[in-house]
Amino acid sequence: MGSTNSTLIKIPNVDELIQETGFSTAHIIRLHDRFKELDKERRGYLCPQDFGAIKGLAINPIGDRIIGAFFSPGRETVDFYTFVKILAHFRPADNSRPKESSSPEPINSRTNKLKFVFQMYDIDKDGKISRIDLLKALRSMLEMQVTEEQLDSIVDRTIQEADLDGDDAISFEEFRKSLEKVNIDHKMSIRFLR
């Protein structure tokens, strides 16, 4: 127990973190351990190379996008605070918490999860998933085993299915609508981060 307390003291802004993300102290400690494990040179922050060393990400088709999602635009480092905040998106939603209308939406709400995925599609950050975004995403997922023509027709069809206002791109609202039947909470939650 003593070591737990000392670890907690070392982490800055712990209470604020717990309040905002909804993690328990045990989780924060666990994530802190993981952070230290990734931060091999003990700098107190992570840079893209540290992420690149993770084997799972290296063979993941969208690994580079995931790494990119951790780094806010313009910054080259990730501190623990941001690390936990990003991971908070993947916490399973807890229905037991009473809904207070005054407090802001929790990070792991359905909308925020969808926003996270939307941002991962939208590389050029123009607020919409254009054809080019979709093409790039599909190509990285399909790993060069398809022809240009096939990709084009899939992208065409996807945009046609989702695009409601005819601007040839998918906005966040259209994105949300196309996924209304999918159980996002189930698909975008990691169990141990409860």
């Binding site: 994530l31 991962m120 069809r157 196309s178």
Partner: protein, 738 residues
């Protein structure tokens, strides 16, 4: 003239012969009876006749129910069928004969496998694996709890009651408990199929009913063996536990082996497409029987076989075979189900009954109580590990949906009367429990589902967007799990997918399909489905709205012109490809190949013409000779043929894909042009070729003289029955050689 004379002649001959016979007879003055013109030989035909009659009756019943509208919406089909069985049994008894009882051999080897194979082959994999933990817990722990609770409870009651029940010992009670507590897949399927409950609950109850077979088999054999021997030692208990693992895992292993064999075999069936479905059925049945030989769980073997072979077999077999498999499985399982319920009814009338009020009522009460307690208790533990928790309503449906059925009945029937003196009492009790669950629970579950407003199955169209996003999110989550250092099930799933893609698919899927990513197959499937739908609706107006879902139909009409034309182009291309596919034609007639459609002439002719033009175009790309070659038509024909032949016999020419598509575009435009221009182009290359082509088409004899025909023959036969999602491969096959 001839046709009128012929029967007259025959009649005459017949009369002469009969007269001659009679004459002979009278001449011989023997005690020889007259040649029987009509006689009845029922005994020889008896068995197949009765079997066919029963099946016919069952099917007619099924038809009949749906003609009475009100009845089929209130009462589930299974209840009606049991009622019909009761009536039939009563009728047979009134006639004076002994009504047949549901023979256990017949049940386990003929009636049950089709239902289980149907369930296993079409098992929705994703919900099953996502809830595998829950399902296994319910199946194993739940069934064990039920058996022991019911068994112990019954034993206690028997001790207390005394009287006729005093002779029932603990082992018999436990055995009865284990038989009666198994949820029955047939009954569950029959009832749940009609209430359209949401996918999660369906897969929970149904998965449980399938997987608890392993437990039931082990407990049954265990207790039966113990009852035979007479005493139990702790070593035996340990062996029993070991046996469970052997039975379950062994069954799955046997199924897996046969599944892999079936997948591997299907890789080579390109030239005998007609017997493809047979392999699927035979391998699965062999898996079931092999498992039964070793007293392993046959049901689990069947499920494992079906689940394992499906993705690979579907990638290999033709679309027609896929449809055949689907419909045969549905047909057989439907007939089996009907027969099972009818026989249950008939057996009720038939079997010797020993009615004991206490025993029967206590059994029913104990079953209900133990089921509810089991489900509630287990859910409390399971919910700690689930992400989507099971609510009270879900638990109620799971508990209420635990129906018993014919498997329990057959198992009791198999008991030997020497070891179990109370067999008839057990039979009666089991039948009562079955009736209770099927009638009472089956009938009331539908209004209860409506009352509790349980989520129903969503009638959603599969969309490519959901598939893309689902895959994207899987990758995302697997990556995040890697970041967190947490090796959850997504990590293992990705690993398995990679293994599957790299090694397994290459072995088990023939040809170029092995490299196809899942998204592409999904997309192709969807496009194929849509093109088929278009074919059926068969209206040119719908061409414009082909690519859109219903929600965007209004927007699509406002869409800019170039997109819709592109869309139309693509749809036309798909339609054309599919039209060629669905109306292919074989040159030679044989009993072992499928008969061609007489209306296919024009289509294959257009196809051939198209191909010929393509080949000429291709040749013009390759030919580098000067234009002064004044070839006479026969010489050109020869060159054409020889080039063609060379073209066909050369192993796959590594052509770039883009020229093919551009060539295709051309072919589309060619078909758009009028026939007249085609004709004129033809005439330029010499009318001989056209004639020769036509002669080749119309002549049924294998025209060996025309090499061109042989090539067309080969090509069209190869194209005749393509795999299911073959849009791109179809095009490739047209132009690449085999």
């Amino acid at each position: 003239m001839m046709t009128r004379i012929l029967p007259l002649l025959l009649l005459l001959v017949f009369c002469c012969l009969s007269v001659r016979c009679l004459q002979n007879q009278s001449d011989q003055q023997h005690h020889k009876r007259a040649f029987p013109v009509i006689s009845i030989h029922y005994e020889a035909v008896r068995t197949p006749f009765e079997v066919a009659l029963w099946i016919l009756l069952a099917s007619l019943m099924k038809l009949g129910f749906h003609l009475i509208p009100r009845l089929s919406s209130v009462v589930p089909e299974s209840c009606l069928l049991i009622a019909v069985g009761l009536l039939l049994g009563g009728l047979i008894r009134v006639i004076g004969e002994n009504p047949p009882v549901l023979d256990s051999q017949l049940f386990f080897f003929c009636l049950l496998p089709p239902i289980i194979l149907d369930a296993g082959y079409f098992l929705p994999i994703r919900p099953f694996t996502e809830n595998a933990g829950t399902i296994l817990t319910f199946a194993v722990v739940g069934t064990l709890w039920n058996s022991f609770f019911v068994g112990a409870g019954l034993y206690g009651v028997c001790r207390l009651e005394g009287g006729g029940l005093a002779s029932v010992d603990l082992l018999s009670c436990l055995l009865f408990g284990s038989i009666v507590s198994a949820v029955d897949p047939v009954a569950v399927l029959a009832v749940f199929e009609e209430i359209h409950i949401n996918e999660l609950l369906h897969i929970l109850v149904f998965g449980e009913s399938l997987l608890n077979d392993a437990v039931t088999v082990v407990l049954y054999h265990l207790f039966e063996e113990f009852a035979h021997v007479g005493e139990v030692t702790p070593g035996d208990v340990f062996l029993g536990v070991l046996c469970f693992f052997v039975v379950a895992l062994g069954g799955v292993m046997v199924g897996a082996v046969y599944g892999v064999l079936a997948a591997f075999t299907s890789r080579f069936t390109a030239h005998s497409r007609v017997i493809e479905p047979l392999f699927v059925f035979l391998y699965s049945y062999m898996a079931y029987l092999s498992a039964e030989v070793f007293h392993l769980s046959g049901i689990m073997a069947l499920i494992a076989c079906g689940v394992l072979m499906r993705p690979y077999v579907e990638a290999n077999i033709s679309h027609k075979s896929y449809t055949t498999i689907k419909y045969f499985l549905k047909m057989w399982s439907s007939v089996s189900e009907t027969l099972i319920f009818i026989f249950l009814g008939v057996s009720t009338v038939a079997g010797p009954h020993v009615w004991n009020w206490t025993f029967v009522s206590i059994t029913i009460v104990l079953c209900l109580v133990s089921r509810v307690l089991g489900v509630v208790g287990l859910t409390y533990i399971i919910n700690k590990y689930r992400m989507v928790k099971l609510s009270g309503k879900d638990q109620f449906i799971v508990a209420y949906g635990g129906l018993r059925g014919a498997i329990a009945f057959s198992l009791v029937f198999l008991l030997s009367s020497d070891d179990f003196a109370m067999k008839n009492m057990f039979l009666t009790a089991i039948i009562t429990v079955i009736f209770f669950t099927v009638f009472v629970q089956g009938m009331t579950i539908r209004p209860l589902v409506d009352l509790l407003a349980v989520k129903k199955k969503k009638q959603s169209k599969t969309s490519i967007i959901e598939e893309i996003h689902t895959q994207f999110m899987e990758h995302l989550l697997a990556g995040i799990e890697g970041v967190c250092g947490h090796y959850g099930h997504r990590h293992w799933r990705e690993k398995m997918n990679r293994f599957n893609k790299r090694y397994v698919k290459r072995c088990l899927i023939g040809g170029e399909r092995s490299q196809e990513p899942q998204l592409i197959s999904f997309y192709n499937k969807m496009e194929l489905k849509q093109a088929m739908m278009l074919l059926e609706s068969n209206s040119s107006a719908s061409l414009n709205t082909a690519g859109h879902t219903t929600t965007t139909i209004e927007q699509s009409s406002r869409r800019t012109l170039n997109i819709s034309k592109e869309r139309e182009e693509e749809i036309r291309k798909i339609l054309r490809a599919n039209l060629q596919k669905t109306r292919q034609r074989l040159r030679s007639y044989s009993r072992h190949t499928l008969m061609p459609d007489p209306a296919e002439d024009d289509w294959s002719e257009t196809h051939l013409r198209k191909q010929r033009v393509e080949i000429q175009r291709r040749m013009s790309l390759f030919l580098t000779g000067p234009a002064h070659r004044q070839e006479s038509p026969p010489m050109r024909r020869a060159r054409f043929e020889s080039d063609n032949q060379e073209h066909v016999t050369r192993p796959s020419v590594p052509l770039n894909v883009t020229p093919v598509s551009s060539v295709l575009q051309d072919s589309v435009t060619i078909d758009n042009e009028s026939e007249k221009s085609d004709e004129s182009r033809w005439r330029r290359h010499g009318g001989d070729e056209k004639q020769e082509g036509e002669r080749g088409i119309r002549g049924r004899k294998p025209s060996v003289t025309f090499a061109l025909d042989l090539d067309e023959q080969k090509r069209s036969r190869c194209l005749s029955d393509l795999g299911p999602n073959q849009l791109n491969e179809d095009d490739e096959e047209s132009f690449l050689s085999h």
